[in-house]
Symmetry: C2
Subunit: 260 residues, 2 copies
DNA sequence: CGAGGCTTTGAACTGATTCAACCGCAGTGG
DNA sequence: CCACTGCGGTTGAATCAGTTCAAAGCCTCG
């Protein structure tokens, strides 16, 4: 009934709970309190006596996979550090990047609806996530007023982000890229880092795939933005000079050249 | 922090709770039971003694607006009949169609995260929705085991749909259109109608906007699909002949022509 | 230092847009 | 009853934005 289910599901991933622990035996014992989780996800709930409930961490190294499409859904995650990418595998084997979760993002929501994940979640750099088993979420929903609402908020937030992505259709490549940079800037700012200067956590090819353009086009569009004075960049370091202009970039009317 | 908030918000819509009742004074008294709602949204929960709790309906006529971007978020809706379109207004005033909720869809989720709606929800034909105030949802979440989970499911389902839309980037126009048609077919089938023959509820221009192509391109691509024998169409009536082929349409390799 | 991944640059090509005209139908009003 | 108007849809022709292919430059890391 939902055609993404018809994807050619890969063999079960190596990274179910146990395997993960094996890969990072020494440091996997990390955990966070419920209070820390709520801060991270921007949830305000009355935690009652669960304040200090401890939640396991999971670590994934660069290029490692957190979960694959088709794997049974078990739990949600909150990104505590690092950046991941979400990829869906097409019927034809084509890969499509659909998101870059980072600190504060709720990860794994794609698995709730059909009991199995629809995307593959890969780490772009060494990352750390807080594990939130569904049973725990349900328990907290029952006894902590506001917790369910918080999860709703977080999920709605993820949906809002998807919407803002979908909004980019029909824009020129430069405009799409401009908004992408602003989106990253906002997210870095929300994480407490500098808004206007940051490192791109992903290669050009992933940006291109994500935005629906060739990686060569990403290069050229970035260069063009730099020539316009809106940004400056060297390698993966981006500095945003004119956020307003980046946001309002538009396809200029056809038979209309520069004036004065 | 989230740039969609910077949209030029329209003046408050005409259709807050009271205004809506005024527009449809005679028939607005319709309501559904909680059990009916759960069936519609595919929620399986223990409803306890709330089985027959009644939920108000809301009717919107063709081209009327359910809510506008910027309006305060109050409640969710479940589409009981009809088709709507979700539109976001760009900074530049450009409109972007981001979805076509229909029977069984959960509507309004875009408002949860930031307390105000980010999209404008317009009826494509006379439609009827069940109103789900957040207070009711929270109450039911507390006393009906499985209800919160059901809402999570529904939200995750909406997110999955968005993902499948995002997956279409990077495909040719014909392929995007093919998947769009399949998506509609699946949704009609889920609603109990015929899968392979249906009416497009929206004009070509909305399809084009939604898929990120000019409406002329929609025309041409539809014609092309018909010439390939994958569909047949007259006006807004579509008949799908080869769903498999529609799904696997792909950009054929550049320097490679037909063989034998 | 060398290999391989990432990025940039160049040049040809093409799919899609744009602009413009036209068709057909529905509703309106004379 | 029929011209008139407007909207949705189709078709055609010119143009362009972005892709594709190719090659070279540049970092990083073993």
């Amino acid at each position: 009934m939902f055609y993404m289910q018809e994807l050619p599901l890969r063999a079960g991933g190596v990274f179910d709970d146990d395997a993960l622990d094996l890969t990072v035996p020494a440091v996997a014992a990390q955990s966070s309190t419920l209070a820390e989780l709520c801060t991270l996800l921007d949830i305000t709930a009355e935690l009652q006596n669960h304040q200090h409930l401890r939640l396991r961490h999971v670590r994934v190294h660069r290029d490692q996979t957190l979960y694959r499409a088709g794997q049974p859904f078990k739990q949600l995650y909150a990104v505590k550090a690092g950046v991941l990418k979400a990829v869906v595998l097409d019927v034809n084997g084509r890969e499509q990047v659909v998101g870059f979760p980072m600190k504060g993002s709720l990860v794994g929501v794609d698995g709730i609806a059909y009991g199995q994940h629809m995307v593959e979640m890969v780490a772009l750099c060494d990352s750390e996530l807080i594990v939130m088993p569904m049973s725990t979420i349900r328990m907290l929903g029952r006894c902590c007023p506001g917790f369910s609402r918080g999860i709703y908020y977080a999920m709605s937030g993820e949906l809002a982000r998807e919407l803002s992505v979908n909004m980019r259709r029909g824009l020129s490549t430069k405009a799409r890229l401009g908004r992408f940079l602003l989106d990253l800037a906002d997210r870095f700012a929300a994480m407490g880092y500098a808004r206007s200067v940051f490192n791109l956590p992903m290669p050009r090819s992933d940006i291109g795939n994500y935005l629906g353009m060739a990686q060569e086009t990403v290069s050229r569009a970035l260069l063009s933005l730099e020539e316009d004075g809106l940004i400056s960049l060297s390698q993966r370091t981006v500095c945003i000079h004119d956020a307003e202009a980046l946001l309002t970039l538009k396809r200029l009317p056809r038979h209309r050249a520069r004036q004065t």
